[in-house]
């Protein structure tokens, strides 16, 4: 199933999107566009099929972030980074419409996100990708190499996972600057 993955556009049809999670549906339908265009708190990339290129069948939202080195436990600070901040990307949401689940759309979206993360690493620097996942999705991310960093119960429903971009570079067979492009 050939997919087109691109930035969310105003004319995209999101009203029929249903991933089975009301919160994620609501985010895409109500907030993704205005967050991207007006508030600049996340860029959403959407997947569509060629037969209906405006109908969104999957999406993810990506934002830049950084972890102040001073916030790490003191023993770790110097070894984490000699600078004030460790840059990371936040994969805030990723969801696929129920009618297309189990067909590799999520994997395609994740691949797209990791390709972008490598591009960011190659341009302005980035240590890794953080994802905040529902418990049911944790094993899916872990299979892709993400490591769960939220190991105790928290007040939030999600758990944080981290994927080191050095590992992603290894999977690509070299440094980001040497990585060839490919069609998604």
């Amino acid at each position: 199933m050939p997919l087109l993955i691109r930035r969310l556009e105003r004319a995209d049809i999101v009203s029929s999107f249903d991933c089975g999670d009301q919160e994620l549906n609501h985010y895409l339908q109500r907030f993704a566009w205005q967050n991207q265009q007006r508030h600049s708190v996340g860029t959403t990339y959407v997947a569509a099929v060629a037969e209906a290129p405006k109908v969104v069948i999957g999406f993810y939202t990506l934002a830049a972030s950084g972890i102040p080195v001073a916030s790490f436990p003191e023993d770790w600070r110097r070894r984490v980074s000699p600078y004030r901040e460790a840059p990371v990307l936040l994969l805030a949401r990723l969801a696929v419409d129920r009618r297309f689940q189990g067909r590799g759309v999520g994997a395609e979206l994740l691949t797209h996100a990791l390709e972008l993360a490598l591009a960011v690493r190659g341009t302005i620097g980035c240590r890794g990708v953080v994802v905040e996942a529902y418990p049911a999705a944790v094993s899916w991310y872990e299979a892709a190499g993400f490591v769960t960093v939220t190991t105790s119960p928290t007040e939030t429903r999600t758990r944080k996972l981290f994927l080191d971009l050095r590992q992603v570079e290894k999977a690509k067979g070299g440094a980001a600057s040497e990585a060839p492009g490919r069609f998604l």
Partner: protein, 114 residues
């Protein structure tokens, strides 16, 4: 100008395959055409346009290439703050300081092309 490059066996095989498929006999001819293609892609991406392959019914594949993204204006992702617990930061620090794990099979499949 004389141009020499050390290619990996994989890239060398791709080069030979391309030359055969395109019926190009000289490296210079192939390089000239590849440069034209690359120059066009860079100029389009610099203007914020995306590079995609089109089928009969519209675009079916978008090219994402780290080198091209260096000139793309749209990569300035918005910034957000993440709240971390001490435990999460300890776990994260140990991951950042240590050697990266070997890529999982799934990660390899995701990034190795299909």
């Amino acid at each position: 100008m004389r141009f020499q490059a050390e290619l990996s066996p994989r890239d060398a095989a791709v080069l030979q395959s391309l030359m055969g498929e395109l019926e190009v006999e000289g490296n210079a001819v192939l390089m000239s055409n590849l440069l034209a293609l690359a120059s066009w892609a860079v100029s389009e991406r610099r203007r914020g346009r995306r590079i995609a392959a089109f089928g009969d019914q519209g675009p079916v594949r978008e090219l994402v290439m780290p080198l091209l993204e260096r000139v793309a204006p749209g990569l300035d992702l918005p910034r957000v703050e993440i709240e971390w617990t001490r435990e999460e930061l300890e776990n994260l620090a140990s991951l950042m300081v240590g050697e990266p794990a070997e890529p999982t099979e799934k990660l390899g499949r995701l990034l190795d092309g299909r």
